[in-house]
């Protein structure tokens, strides 16, 4: 595998709020190499989006406390000046959001927005060239009749087409890293399939690194090479995607897998919800943060905070859990057979 192009190292992000200090991201480390996709999975409040938007330099301000490093081609973005960040954003690293309407200007034609994105990074580009390139980009993301659609306003496009237009805009300057935050959550499944296929194709053609943030394990399974599962501001499990789905190690990951309805479950299989709800990030639980919801909790887990550690045989698979590896393997073997616990 080639060297990572984007590496987040021991990132911590806290927000000063009226209720206290919210530790949204608490010591997160991940990296992604060109041509690869990292899937970051978590529920709301897990910190998955904050970690990525901080990497983009979008989370800054007097009430934000950040530490750690975000290395883009070796340069620390957390230490970069606002001007430097503006140059990097859109050119080297770009982002796609869940809701294209929040990223596209409602009163500006789609093509003009793409042209603007192009010309803001290439001062020499003529308006005519930018328009021609915008049409090319719209064709590239498989928008039919791109020559007409280039003059459409965002509201004149369907949800799927808007998402394609936003992807086209993000790709305008051929970024080397694309961060996609729930890019298909608002879309119908048939459209979701098309958008995921599009993202895979673009990643391969352009050799981009992709960070895909989602709550949906199915989307991750279809798109990501590596997966990080986040819970309460931390990564609790990290592994190559195939390894994670074949031999998940963390009780939270098991909980997610067991609570998801799926088409290949045995007939009549019960869903097993994760009890309780995600913890407060102002007063996170002591010890293992998952312990209040964990069916396998022991007394020691209430006070000892587990570190993310590699498995003995498969060092690329890391897990933050105080159960022994042998215990975890035995439990998963039972669960996979349909045992209640």
């Amino acid at each position: 595998m080639s060297d990572p192009i984007l590496a987040v190292e021991d990132l911590r992000v806290a927000f000063d709020t009226r209720d206290g200090l919210v530790q949204a991201v608490d010591g997160v480390t991940w990296s992604v190499a060109p041509g690869r996709t990292l899937g970051i999975v978590g529920e709301s409040g897990s910190g998955k989006t904050v970690a990525a938007t901080t990497a983009m330099g979008l989370v800054r301000g007097a009430r934000v406390r950040t530490s750690g490093r975000v290395l883009l081609e070796g340069e620390d973005l957390l230490a970069a000046s606002p001007e430097r960040l503006r140059r990097v954003r859109g050119a080297t690293i770009a982002m796609v959001f869940q809701d294209p309407l929040s990223a596209l200007h409602p009163l500006m034609r789609v093509g003009a927005q793409i042209a603007e994105a192009l010309r803001s990074h290439r001062s020499g580009m003529s308006a005519a060239d930018a328009r021609a390139r915008a049409i090319e980009l719209l064709e590239h993301v498989a928008i039919p009749n791109a020559r007409q659609r280039v003059d459409a306003y965002p509201h004149e496009l369907s949800g799927g087409m808007r998402q394609r237009a936003m992807i086209a805009m993000a790709l305008a300057n051929e970024p080397r890293v694309l961060i996609a935050d729930e890019p298909t959550t608002a879309l119908d499944v048939t459209v979701q399939r098309q958008i995921l296929a599009l993202l895979r194709r673009l990643r391969d053609e352009l050799g981009m690194a992709m960070v895909l943030i989602t709550h949906d394990l199915g989307v991750v399974a279809e798109t990501a090479d590596d997966v990080a599962v986040m819970y309460a501001g931390r990564i609790v499990e990290q592994a190559p995607a195939a390894e994670l789905f074949a031999a998940p190690q963390h009780p939270y990951t098991w909980g997610l897998l067991r609570s998801m309805p799926r088409l290949d479950a045995p007939a009549g299989a019960e869903l097993v919800p994760i009890p309780g709800r995600p913890p407060s990030l102002v007063h996170p639980p002591s010890g293992c943060r998952f312990h209040p919801r964990c069916p396998y909790v022991r007394e020691r887990h209430r006070s000892v905070d587990p570190a993310l550690e590699p498995l003995a045989g498969t060092p690329e698979h890391r897990v933050a859990c105080l159960l022994s590896e042998a215990e975890r393997r035995a439990i998963w073997a039972r669960l996979a057979q349909g045992a209640p616990r």
């Binding site: 529920e43 709301s44 949800g159 119908d188 499944v189 048939t190 459209v191 979701q192 399939r193 995921l196 709550h215 949906d216 394990l217 199915g218 989307v219 399974a221 279809e222 195939a242 789905f245 074949a246 998940p248 098991w254 909980g255 997610l256 897998l257 067991r258 609570s259 998801m260 309805p261 799926r262 088409l263 290949d264 479950a265 045995p266 007939a267 009549g268 299989a269 019960e270 869903l271 097993v272 919800p273 994760i274 009890p275 709800r277 995600p278 669960l335 996979a336 057979q337 349909g338 045992a339 209640p340």
Partner: protein, 293 residues
């Protein structure tokens, strides 16, 4: 409960239902440019005691169909039936009784709760509207019972919606919907706004309530896997039309319509074993031991 020798009678039905919405332009001088058919000649029965899934994508007409079925929207043409009776144009006391018997659970529990009303007041609303349980203390006792039935602490009655999580608000929405002991519960995307770990909690709650209260359930969802877990029969809608109705197992094993096949092929697959709890009873739900509701 049904399930006798006579076989289940249709509890609710729609026949040749059509709903068209006008397309207009202009604010001052509204012009009618044409019509979009939201529901296009749909005939469908809901059997007593069953869980029927209605699946489809945005704009398929599934929510419009459900709202017409509950007399919340007038059809352009066609018939709405309840226990065989034509209730398409029901009014007054008859309509009030129908509203009691058929309840809706919304996707967005926050949007369906008044932010300035306590949870207790929200759950007691249906009693106030229908003038029930007016003796002192009766309502608050019933509200406490209902909150516990949906897995909430009765003390939450004094809280406001914003103090609750999304999953808890959805439980409140369900408590409200079952307050008047409806016979039919229509849940319109009840979990799609919730986190994955909470979705399963709400789905299991709906399944338990269905068994305990002998409810007939219509579950509207875009997620085929949810419907497979919850329902015995599925109706697939596309562009306002019903493209396929079949028992769940049959539909997933041998889908007949091209559109159903496309929909199934689009669901992202998770590799690896499909863990689950012990298999529940296959097919229809366990018959409740009590012979009447």
């Amino acid at each position: 409960m049904s399930g006798g020798a006579a076989g289940p009678a249709p509890l609710a039905a729609v026949e040749r239902l059509v709903k068209r919405f006008p397309i207009t332009r202009g604010v001052m001088f509204r012009r009618r440019l044409g019509e979009v058919p939201a529901v296009d000649d749909v005939t469908l029965e809901v059997l007593e005691g069953e869980a029927l899934g209605i699946v489809g994508e945005t704009g398929s007409g599934k929510s419009t169909l459900a709202r017409i079925m509950l007399n919340l929207l007038e059809p352009t043409s066609g018939v709405v039936r309840w226990r065989g009776e034509d209730v398409t144009h029901a009014r007054g006391a008859r309509l009030a009784e129908l509203r009691r018997a058929r309840q809706l659970v919304f996707q967005d529990p926050a949007g369906s709760l008044n932010p300035r009303k306590t949870i207790g007041a929200a759950v007691a609303d249906p009693f106030a509207i229908h003038g029930l349980l007016s003796e002192r203390g009766a309502r608050s006792r019933r509200v406490a019972e209902l909150l516990e039935l949906v897995g909430l602490d009765a003390a939450l009655a004094n809280r406001y919606p914003h103090e609750l999580s999304g999953g808890m608000r959805q439980r409140v929405g369900i408590a409200r919907a079952i307050a008047l002991r409806p016979e039919l519960l229509v849940a319109d995307e009840p979990v799609s706004a919730l986190d994955v770990s909470i979705q399963a909690q709400i789905l299991m709650l709906l399944r338990r309530l269905r068994d305990e209260l002998g409810l007939t359930l219509v579950l509207i969802a875009h997620d085929l896997a949810v419907v497979r877990h919850m329902c015995e029969r599925v109706a697939v809608m596309h562009d306002g039309r019903l493209v396929e109705v079949a028992p769940v197992d049959e539909l997933f094993r041998a889908p007949r319509a091209d559109y159903t096949r496309e929909l199934l092929a689009s669901v992202p697959r998770i590799p690896g074993p499909a863990p689950g709890g012990p298999p529940g009873p296959p097919g229809p739900p366990a018959q409740s031991s009590s012979s009447s509701t």
